[in-house]
Amino acid sequence: MNITVLYCDDCPSLNPSLDRLKKVLIEEEIEEEILLKKVESKEEATKLKFTGSPTILINGIDIDPPDKNSYFALNCRAFKKQNGKISPIPPIDMIRKLVIQQK
């Protein structure tokens, strides 16, 4: 399993998101390492199809696939919770769902 986290410099959501990701990996007994990649320019964002920080990819698949109106930029991700509210960090269930699917 390839686990990659794309992020922007100074993203306040990175560490809390990593904590959640690590928690899920431990609980699902996944030992693969997390690859962290900093996205530093709009050009790089476009190349990586990066719509915001943090972006968690499991085997190249985004845990929260962005909608077609999203644009590539050094943005901040807004994750939609089940209750419809917005969170800057991904819900644990969202991470777990894709990890289990890709196991």
Partner: protein
């Protein structure tokens, strides 16, 4: 880093609002709650309903002035047009102002969205910082820093804490 510290006099500004009016902080006699925010930041989005509720709850005593200073060229969700849409959708009960040149954000030394500066009626900075301690879940908030600061100021007391570290995305500066 903020260019204004607790006890300093308010930094004045006049900015265009999405309501078509230019808003001048000097015209406000109440407690002024200046909040640097924006459309796209998920932290700003997470807290905006609570800010609306604060304005509603303390409508006689405070005036919230929300300012977006983000570069709309790089972040089109933060354009003036989108600001107007957001204000209407979320029923903002306060002016949502556009700091297009980013001059006011620089003047204040604001760095994050949201980041609050609260001045008493005489224009003295009494509180600077974040909204509360739980952006993700309002029902799990233990410390409503901004609300408690407002209540303190209304009662003629100094907020404690008077400073909390602002939590949110960085203001998106022009190149």
């Amino acid at each position: 880093m903020a260019k204004i510290k607790i006890g300093d006099t308010q930094l004045n500004f006049e900015l265009p609002g999405v309501d078509g009016i230019k808003h001048n902080i000097e015209n406000i006699q109440k407690i002024k709650v200046v909040i640097f925010s924006c459309n796209h930041c998920p932290y700003a989005q997470a807290w905006e309903d609570r800010i609306v509720n604060l304005q509603s709850e303390f409508s006689k005593e405070i005036q919230v002035m929300m300012i977006s200073s983000n570069d709309a060229e790089q972040f089109p969700d933060d354009s003036f047009k989108e600001m107007a849409k957001r204000s209407k959708e979320k029923k903002f009960n306060f002016p949502y102002l556009y700091d297009e040149s980013q001059e006011i954000a620089i003047l204040y030394g604001a760095e994050r969205t949201p980041e609050a500066f609260v001045f008493d009626a005489l224009g003295t900075l009494k509180y600077h910082g974040t909204i509360d301690d739980n952006y993700e879940n309002e029902s799990e908030v233990e410390k409503s820093f901004l609300k408690e600061a407002i209540k303190n100021i209304i009662n003629g007391e100094n907020p404690s804490p008077s400073f909390t570290e602002p939590v949110g995305c960085t203001i998106k500066w022009k190149n």
